[in-house]
């Protein structure tokens, strides 16, 4: 198979990539990484694959990519004939990139809280939760504005890789003690996302938002 994903099922970042692979109906091989408790991503062998010691990593033929956001952009650029997942129109491309970066930075505070609560990582949990709430406030405000003009998705009339990148750690935030009560627009958006054809859930995604 041409596509290989170094994967850990419970990782929200790997989940981003699996979501797009499923939406695009692409065949790929999963290479399981013992992230916890094995910390295989920090082993010398894995550092050869990704010197940053992070998952996911995607292999596409001779190309090897790290960073979930970069992988999403690559897959959409190479395999989405509709162009919907990564729109090239100037009015859309920049905003998609902006929200993609937001998913890789600000929203990752929710990932930190989840690692603390579920896997016992030692970190400042209060700061992680506060930062995640601040990021969710920004996303919820944006989605409220979108809803006011009749739009469901973060950027375009169609879901884009920005929606995919933002979905896992917002939907999984309850695992880290961060509720969705204060974010009605985000809840509506998550509900719409779960109804996309090809959507697969992962442990920890609430069924009824």
């Amino acid at each position: 198979m041409a596509l290989k994903l170094y994967n850990y099922t419970l990782s929200g970042s790997c989940y981003k990539v699996r979501l797009l692979l499923d939406f695009l109906d692409l065949d790929y091989e999963r290479i399981p990484v013992d992230f916890f408790p094995g910390k295989e991503h920090k082993t010398l062998d894995f550092l050869d694959i990704n010197p940053l010691g992070q998952i996911p990593v995607l292999e596409d033929g001779p190309m090897r990519l790290r960073d979930a956001q970069a992988i999403l952009a690559h897959l959409a650029n190479s395999y989405d004939e509709t162009g919907h997942w990564l729109p090239r129109a100037p009015a859309l491309f920049g905003p998609v990139m902006m929200w993609l970066m937001f998913a890789g930075n600000e929203i990752m505070a929710a990932s930190a809280a989840r690692l603390h609560d579920v896997l016992g990582y030692e970190l400042d949990i209060e700061a992680a939760r506060a930062n995640a709430h601040a990021a969710f406030r920004v996303l919820d405000d944006h989605l409220t504005e979108r809803a006011l003009i009749g739009k469901t998705w973060i950027v375009s009339d169609h879901p884009t890789i920005a929606d995919i990148a933002c979905f896992p750690y917002t939907a999984l935030s309850g695992d880290g003690g961060i509720g969705h009560e204060e974010y009605p627009a985000m809840r509506n958006w998550m509900r719409a996302f779960r109804r996309l054809p090809g959507f697969n859930a992962v442990s920890g995604i609430p069924e009824f938002a």
Binding site: Y8, L10, P32, D34, E40, V118, L119, G120, G174, S203
Partner: protein
């Protein structure tokens, strides 16, 4: 957080770390029953356990016992013995240390969820249960007085992908279960090995109650599977447990009520009724919903 004064809870061996969790030369702070504790491991791998005093310094030394890939300690002077699980010593078994998962829930709710077959088809849809076949067959529950354990036997359930090896071969099967509550904070099940009706996989759940509503769950297994990689086995077990976790964290009331009428039982709850009766009989107060005075 203060340590419980419940002698029943105090006199249990309780899981406090999995083997390999504490790096040699380092220490790890955690808690049990409201008491802060520290596990320190020397460079040669030998570990010790202490209470952490109010000043942050080491207090009373606690005993450590290593079994089933887990370190256990106790705050009590006359703890109930650790269970005997001979499967862990069988040469052809693979022992999987599935590490641990933290969750905000009562330890007894976690035990009950483990005992409850009715949730398979909803919480573990397409893996441990199927929406088309939701029936829980009648089974027997007994209090085995010689070992003072609760057993549920003759449990049967249709499962689309009961284990890693079954999932890989794409085979649904009727799986036979036996449940065994070994202590207030530990439970295990024996389940039909995929493709081998003679022997059972042994899957355990040891719970470390840090407080009445905050736990760490350990899931060691001794299984017969020469196909799957250890990474796949652990991945499967963690995936299942995180499906339970979201349900457990949302259960109300958080503490376990022992009043018979508090929650309406169904057929699948026979084991949970026996479990609650057993907890009541031993006088457990820790983690139990205290009844309001009338």
């Amino acid at each position: 957080m203060s340590v419980t004064d419940d002698p029943v809870a105090l006199n249990q061996w309780i899981a406090c770390a999995y083997v390999g969790q504490v790096t040699p030369g380092k220490s790890y702070d955690t808690a049990m029953l409201g008491q802060a504790i520290r596990i320190s491991c020397a460079l040669d791998g030998t570990c010790t356990c202490h209470e952490i005093g109010d000043d942050g310094g080491p207090g009373r030394q606690l005993p450590l016992s290593q079994r089933f890939e887990i370190l256990f300690t106790t705050l009590g002077d006359t703890p109930r013995q650790l269970p005997d699980i001979p499967e862990f010593a069988e040469a052809d078994r693979r022992v999987a240390n599935c590490a641990s998962v933290g969750l905000h829930a009562s330890p007894f709710r976690i035990v009950e969820n483990f005992l409850d077959m009715a949730h398979f088809c909803f919480v573990h849809k397409d893996i441990l249960g199927s929406m088309e076949k939701t029936e829980v067959f009648t089974y027997k529950t007994e209090h085995r007085k010689d070992v003072d354990e609760i057993w549920a036997t003759d449990c049967a359930f249709f499962q689309p992908a009961a284990s890693t090896s079954a999932a890989e071969k794409g085979g649904g099967q009727v799986t036979y279960y036996k449940y065994r509550v070994m202590s207030p904070f530990s439970v295990m099940l024996y389940k039909t090995v995929y493709g081998n009706a003679e022997r059972d996989d042994a899957i355990c759940l040891f719970i470390q109650p840090k407080s009445e509503t905050e736990c760490i769950a350990y899931m060691p297994m001794a299984i017969l599977d020469d196909q799957s990689t250890m990474t796949q086995i652990i991945d499967f077990q963690q995936t299942i447990f995180l499906q339970d976790r979201i349900i457990l964290e949302n259960q109300r009331p958080v503490l376990l009520p022992l009043t018979p009428s508090a929650e309406i039982p169904t057929k699948a709850d026979v084991s949970s009724i026996a479990f609650r009766r057993w907890l009541k009989g031993m006088g457990m107060r820790f983690g139990i919903l205290q009844e309001q005075a009338a």
